[in-house]
C-alpha cells in the first residue's frame, strides 16, 4: 500500500531535524559504516520524543488496526540513513556516451 504525501512538508521538516539529532549520537542503537557515517538508528522512538510521536501516529497505526482487526505493538523501529556513498571503484559510474552509463568494475561496486 502506498500513501503519497501522507505527512506534510512541515511535519517532515521536524522529522528530518530530529533525524540529524539522532544520527549524530554516540550510542549502541546507532550503527555506523566503516567510514563512520551513520547507517541505522534503532529504537529511536525510545529515546526521541519526536520519533515516539511518529511511532504512535494515527496515520500509521489506524490502517494496520483496521487491517488486523486488533491492537498493534512496535516490533522494530529504525531510521535508515542510507547516506550518499561513493561506488567502491574508481569514480564509480563512468558516462561513456550520451544516455549510456557503465561501471568501471561492476563486480566490485556494491
Amino acid at each position: 500500500m502506498f500513501f503519497p504525501n501522507c505527512f506534510s512538508e512541515e511535519e517532515i521538516a521536524l522529522l528530518r531535524a530530529e533525524a540529524a539529532n539522532v544520527l549524530k549520537q554516540d550510542r549502541q542503537e546507532v550503527w555506523r559504516e566503516k567510514t563512520g557515517a551513520p547507517r541505522t538508528a534503532f529504537a529511536a522512538h525510545t529515546f526521541s520524543e519526536v520519533f515516539s510521536l511518529l511511532a504512535r501516529h494515527p496515520r500509521l497505526v489506524q490502517p494496520l488496526r483496521q487491517l488486523f482487526g486488533e491492537d498493534v505493538y512496535v516490533h522494530q523501529f529504525k531510521l535508515n540513513a542510507k547516506p550518499p556513498s561513493k561506488a567502491r571503484c574508481g569514480n564509480g559510474i563512468r558516462i561513456t556516451a550520451p544516455g549510456r552509463a557503465t561501471t568501471a568494475c561492476p563486480s566490485r561496486v556494491r
Binding site: W31, R39, P58, V74, K82, G92, V109
Partner: protein
C-alpha cells in the same frame, strides 16, 4: 507489517527499496545471513529464488493487465521500486521480499522503517537485543493526528 516513512525524496537513482509484489504469499523463505557486505547483517535469498519470485510476479502483472485491455505483453518485470516525495508512506507485509541497492548519488535517502505487529502475533523467541526486536507488547495508544504540528509549535515557542 513494515511501514516506510520517506524523510527524503525516494528516487530511482538514490537507493530506493525494491519489492517483489505478492512474494509474501510464499510464506517464510529460507534465507542466509550476510554479515560481510555492509556493517549491518542482511537476510539474503539465493539468486534462483529471487528469479523465480520475480518471474511469477511478472506473470501476475501481465495477467491482470492483459485481462483488463486484451493486449498481449511478454516483457513484464516482476520487481518494483516505489518512488515518492518526502512524507510518502509505504506499507508492506513482513514476508514480502525486499532489498535496496547502495546510494551512490549526492542525494540522501533517509527512511524510517517501523514494524508494527498484531499483539496476538507477538514474538516468543528472543534471539535479538531488546532494542532491535522489542519485547514490550503493550498495544499502541495513538496520539492525536496533529501531534507533530503541536510538538513543532510548542518547541518553536520555547526556542524564541
Amino acid at each position: 507489517m513494515n511501514i516506510a516513512v520517506f524523510l527524503d525524496a525516494v528516487m530511482p537513482i538514490n537507493g530506493p527499496l525494491f519489492l517483489i509484489p505478492k512474494s509474501h504469499r510464499q510464506g517464510v523463505l529460507d534465507a542466509g545471513h550476510d554479515k560481510l557486505t555492509t556493517s549491518y547483517p542482511l537476510w539474503t535469498l539465493d539468486n534462483e529464488t529471487v528469479a523465480r519470485l520475480a518471474a511469477q510476479a511478472a506473470d501476475d502483472v501481465a495477467d491482470s493487465v492483459d485481462r483488463a485491455d486484451g493486449v498481449d505483453r511478454t516483457d513484464r518485470v516482476g520487481i518494483v521500486a516505489p518512488a515518492g516525495n518526502p512524507g510518502s508512506v509505504l506499507m508492506f507485509h513482513g514476508n514480502l521480499v525486499h532489498a535496496s541497492p547502495p546510494n551512490i548519488t549526492p542525494y540522501p535517502r533517509k527512511i524510517v522503517y517501523l514494524t508494527l505487529c498484531a499483539v496476538s502475533n507477538h514474538i516468543t523467541k528472543f534471539t535479538r537485543p531488546e532494542w532491535i526486536a522489542h519485547r514490550d507488547f503493550t498495544p499502541i495508544k495513538p496520539v492525536g493526528d496533529d501531534a507533530l504540528y503541536e510538538y513543532a509549535r510548542v518547541h518553536r515557542v520555547a526556542a524564541e
